[in-house]
């Protein structure tokens, strides 16, 4: 009786409902965040947990490190290229999924699959797809005569070595990552498209606008807030993701052709044991991502208000 009355009070019920989230965020986001900050200004390593403050030394060291700079450039390429592809393909996919056709739910299910399947599993699948010797893609190319003979399109060698050549490795990593976040982007964009009133699109049609004018003058501007949010999410997932890179290439082929910040932090901190420098690398995300989030959210808000 007494607990019931207590729960009826908003000032009790509200905080109580929020509590799990607050605990979760404090434990799994707040605590590691603070720890990485604490580590980044110290000389802590796995072998020597004795804590001594060294100031900004770690940051100076990583900025001067050519591997870090290479990883930073790679991360930017990786993020920018995959997001661009994801937004364009996601839009096309959403447009297709909006149409009515037989077996739509099966297709929707299949489209969502890469997102629901564990990423490690999918990446391992691709590891085999892109194998240097047994790659089925190479096998198909050879069968079609595009690979393996002196006059074929992709060269005379028997395999493409997807993960073994610097440019091709980056391409492979990007494509696998696109495969992974495309469903999420498509579903967000689909929801955004469905939220545009049908009458507005029909009005444009009656007003004489053809498909591309409707797309660029009506639909895309109205989708802008949704696209902004999609870019935001996709950027975060890409910028901070190391699973695809780690499983496919571990940052290789040498020298660090596909090394990104997240994998570098892992390499330094966990594999190399230098927690302090790893924390400094990881913290580098923070101002960058916070800045992107602020810009995108501001643009989105502006678009919604008008």
């Amino acid at each position: 009786m007494k607990t019931k009355r207590l729960l009826d009070r908003d000032e009790v019920l509200g905080p109580l409902c929020l509590l799990p989230v607050v605990i979760y965020m404090a434990l799994f986001i707040g605590f590691p965040f603070v720890m990485s900050f604490v580590y980044s200004i110290s000389n802590v390593t796995i072998g020597n947990p004795h804590y001594r403050i060294v100031g900004l030394q770690n940051f100076i060291a990583i900025v001067e490190d050519p591997v870090f700079r290479k990883s930073l450039v790679n991360t930017c390429i990786f993020t920018f290229v995959s997001i661009s592809i994801v937004i364009v393909l996601g839009h096309i996919l959403a447009e297709l999924l909006r149409r009515e056709f037989r077996g739509k739910w099966v297709v929707r299910f299949l489209v969502m699959l890469p997102w629901t399947a564990p990423i490690a599993l999918g990446a391992i699948g691709f590891l085999w797809f892109l194998d240097s010797v047994f790659s089925p893609i190479d096998w198909l190319l050879r069968t079609w005569g595009l690979l393996g003979s002196p006059d074929s399109l992709f060269g005379a060698q028997s395999n493409l070595y997807w993960l073994g050549r610097p440019e091709l490795a980056m391409t492979s990593v990007i494509l696998v990552h696109v495969w992974r976040i495309l469903p999420l982007a498509a579903v967000i964009l689909l929801a955004g498209m469905n939220a545009i009133p049908r009458e507005i699109i029909e009005a444009a049609q009656v007003d004489g606008a053809g498909y591309f004018r409707r797309l660029f003058h009506i639909i895309l501007p109205l989708l802008f807030p949704v696209i902004g949010v999609t870019i935001l999410f996709a950027t975060f997932f890409t910028f901070t993701d190391m699973t695809v890179v780690w499983i496919l290439t571990k940052g290789g082929p040498p020298p660090n052709s596909t090394q990104v910040l997240a994998s570098l932090a892992f390499l330094k901190g966990i594999a190399g044991g230098d927690l302090a420098q790893a924390a400094a690398v990881a913290l580098f995300f923070f101002p960058v991502l916070a800045g992107i989030a602020a810009i995108v959210l501001r643009l989105v808000k502006k678009a919604v208000v008008t």
Binding site: E199, I200, E202, V206, D207, G208, T306
Partner: protein, 333 residues
């Protein structure tokens, strides 16, 4: 300006017949109201005319030219949607200008035309605003200005007043009629509101379940309804029906009056048991029964009645409509 002609137009959505063999001709410069309950096919008919839907069979002709295979943009039509469908990210100016920019018209000409249309509807001072900053009535004017700015051959309006409050709607109706007369554009107007239909239409086409029931002037529809459906749909409160000598006799609540107030030689006298009286300000409506059939009456001003008692009421024979018992069609005579 143009005529519009539907010939045997049928549209199926799966198993459902939205419109079923509709033949209808709209004259040049006329305002024709498509009236019917929801699901009667009136919006479908308009969307077919706009080219937003393709007929399953039959033809639609504008100015005598069959337009079945002509895209909406080439039909020379304009449409005002129920939600107004203003482009929320464009200013009022850009909204009205949109149909013109699509035609790649010169900037200066666009400005002139937009100002002309805006002046017509008194929205010149709103041109820099965004749609979200406008009231319902203002949005409606912008929507109509956008529709008229490129001088369409046919104007289609889909319940354009239904999002206005009752008072705004009253004024908007008068203005609409004035503009339509002034510009003289052939107009098809869809509504489920019979008051709007009676007040606006040069002619009314009554639809039910995809079929055309009657086409005529508001007077014809009211005075000589073609069947029981039209008779019952038009008029507030709705017409009473009672079975007499193997036919259905229909009479309106406004002509069903106390015996001593009814004039004429031939009367149909009825014992009317009044169960409840509703005071609607300007008039009162009585809910009662005659021989077990529920009957409504519009009571004369200050006429005393007692709830729960029987009264002598009557209708003049002239005011009674007779309908066939099985087909529901009007019996002349």
């Amino acid at each position: 300006m143009a005529t519009v002609e539907f010939r045997g137009v049928t549209k199926n959505f799966g198993q459902v017949k939205a419109t079923d063999g509709v033949d209808l001709a709209i004259k040049d410069g006329e305002l024709l109201v498509l009236l019917g309950p929801s699901g009667s096919g009136k919006s479908t008919l308009m969307r077919l005319c706009a080219g937003l839907e393709q007929p399953t069979s039959g033809t639609i002709a504008i100015d005598g030219v069959v337009v079945n295979d002509v895209s909406p943009r080439e039909r020379g039509i304009a449409m005002v949607f129920q939600s107004y469908a203003l482009y929320p990210h464009k200013t009022v100016f850009d909204n009205i200008a949109f149909p013109l920019t699509v035609e790649h018209m010169a900037k200066e000409d666009i400005r002139k035309k937009v100002e002309w249309a805006a002046g017509l509807f008194g929205i010149g001072r709103l041109l820099d605003r965004m749609p979200s900053q406008l009231s319902g009535g203002e949005r409606q004017r912008v929507a109509i200005a956008r529709a008229l700015v490129r001088r369409p051959r046919v104007l289609l309006m889909d319940e354009p007043l239904s999002n206005l409050d009752a008072k705004e709607r009253h004024y908007a109706r008068g203005e609409l009629k004035k503009f339509q007369r002034g510009i003289g554009v052939t107009t098809i107007y869809v509504t489920h509101d019979q008051v709007e239909a009676m007040g606006l239409g040069d002619r009314i086409a009554v639809l039910c379940e995809g079929r055309l029931r009657q086409v005529g002037t508001p007077e014809e529809i009211y005075d000589r309804p073609a069947d029981i459906f039209v008779a019952g749909f038009i008029g507030i409160p709705p017409m009473n029906f009672i079975e007499r000598e193997g036919r259905i006799a229909g009479f309106r609540p406004e002509v069903f009056r106390p015996l001593e107030l009814v004039q004429g030689d031939e009367l149909m006298r009825l014992r009317y048991r009044i169960e409840r009286v509703e005071n609607l300000g300007g008039y009162r409506v009585a809910y009662g029964v005659v021989d077990g059939t529920p009957i409504l009456a519009k009571l004369p001003h200050r006429y005393p009645v007692t709830e729960g008692e029987e009264h002598d009421f009557a209708v003049s024979i002239r005011d009674i409509h007779f309908f066939h018992k099985d087909t529901g069609l009007r019996i002349e005579g």
